[in-house]
Amino acid sequence: MTEDEVIARLWSGMTVGIGGWGSRRKPMSLVRAILRSDLSDLHVVSFGGPEVGMLAAAGKLSRLTFAFVAPDVGPAAVLEPHFRAARQSGALECTELDEGMLLLGLQAAAWRVPFLPTRVGLGSDLPLVNDGWATVVSPFPGPGGVAETLVAQKAIHLDAALVHLNVADERGNAAYTGPDLYFDDLLCEAATAAYVSAERVVRSGELLAAAGDVARLRVNRLFTDGVVEAPNGAHPTSCEPDHGRDEVFQQEYLASAKDPDLWRSLLDDYLALSSEADYQAAVAARPEGDVR
């Protein structure tokens, strides 16, 4: 499939789970296809990175389910200014979660149960920013004899999942060759339809040779519905070991939250070009481009 063929199967108002984590291995070529489409009013579920800010700034987003949104989370956490602007304006409806609750919500959807119990979230202010908040009394006595009241993390069903892997086969199996799968398999399993973009697509039976290790073949075609070949498709986020993050591009993107002209030119010159091929050509032609 092409990015645009995937996007033709999506609709306004739907719930879309986006793979990767922070500014790492995001399915950005599919996100760009959303940016240039007529889609709107999307509900995004994500371990959020720049895709959240881009979709918000472009007016595509009406609801967000998240535990964090950040260009990166490390020793020095950086904030995501486009996302912050949308959140602070009150325009973006949000369901906030602990990261572990997001995991459990996706897992519950994948396993077709209405919720999973956890103590995560108890005592925090999450009920103030989470409409699906509920608790459940354990049917079993706790160690002290009293039944515990736990959080019932509601299943988070996705209408569609979009993920970007290092390599996929033509039938929809896929593998990560970088440090972490993140939650990409689970997003696919929690979704009615899942679309995989990959740095390269190989023929059926050749995935192991391409990925190097059977333990890396983690996205199963039982749970996927389409494959897109998208070299450098995660740009500007990282896709180790295929390419690092384009820090220059990301810095410009971050700066554009305070500079409408810069945001407009990022859209016109890159993000909203009429095809992914045009985008990749424009990125490759950047004099200060950092695309490996």
């Binding site: 996302f83 990261e99 005592g123």
Partner: protein, 260 residues
């Protein structure tokens, strides 16, 4: 007089902080020590290199490594085990972890905020990171906090949003919160704990060169302060040497500069 006085004149605040962080992990044994931030990473490594050799520590990404250095290039990492992002929840929810987080705000019971400031919860004046893993960390494993810039806007009467839960919230929950422990708060001015009858924050020790007044002025709530608050101990010569191995580029001095 003293050699001690001379030494405390020479001591650098960031080194005192790193040792105070390391002390937070004393007695933890074989757990995942997960200090987040520059000096926390350095202090955690110091604890492992000295009195807590069984601690496991991350490379800040997807593996647990044994290197002493706080920041290690990929090719130089000495791996113990794979610990991708999702695996961390297994560790946290099992309780075999002690995390040291930052705090944009913290109150007297150790409630922490990293989510948002001002406005209303649904329309904050300043959106921060989000709740991240703070609720799950604080109710499942031991937590400490690191505040490099101690001030009244950080140590507040009441946090705007509770992301990491403090002792008052945990007490309301009862037995289900039995794994909750806020061990310590280390700042650039002192060390704080909750070893009081109702778990209010107590001044545990003052860093050398800091006064009690300085700390109370920089704190937006009333701390429990003993008659003779202790002084945070100085690094030993061995520890100073180790700190230079762990942090050869002196990044700790940029996070906590020496006082003017």
């Amino acid at each position: 007089m003293s050699e001690i006085t001379d030494l405390s004149a020479l001591v650098r605040r960031a080194d005192v902080c790193a040792v105070a962080v390391a002390e937070c992990f004393r007695g933890d044994g074989e757990i995942l020590a997960n200090p987040i931030g520059t000096i926390p990473m350095i202090g955690g490594r110091l604890a492992r290199a000295t009195w807590e050799p069984d601690l496991m520590m991350t490379d800040s990404e997807a593996t647990l490594i044994t290197n002493d250095e706080a920041v290690v290039a990929v090719d130089d990492r000495r791996y113990e085990v794979y610990n991708p992002y999702r695996r961390m929840f297994d560790v946290v929810w099992s309780g075999r972890r002690h995390v040291m987080m930052g705090a944009t705000q913290i109150d007297r019971y150790g409630n922490q905020n990293i989510a948002a400031l001002g406005g209303t919860p649904r329309k904050p004046r300043t959106q921060l990171l989000g709740f991240r893993g703070a609720p799950g960390n604080t109710i499942n494993n031991t937590t400490s906090y690191w505040v490099p810039g101690h001030g009244p806007k950080v140590f507040v009467e009441a946090v705007d949003v509770v992301s990491g839960i403090g002792y008052d919230r945990a007490a309301q929950l009862g037995d289900v919160a039995r794994f909750h422990e806020i061990r310590r708060v280390v700042s650039n001015l002192g060390v704080f704990d909750f070893d009081t009858p109702d778990h209010r924050m107590r001044l545990r020790s003052i860093h050398p060169g800091v006064t009690t007044d300085e700390i109370t002025t920089a704190t937006g709530f009333e701390l429990v302060i003993d008659d003779q608050p202790a002084t945070t101990r100085l690094p030993t010569p061995d520890e100073l040497e180790l700190l230079d191995t762990i942090d050869p580029n002196g990044t700790r001095y940029r996070e906590v500069p020496d006082p003017q």
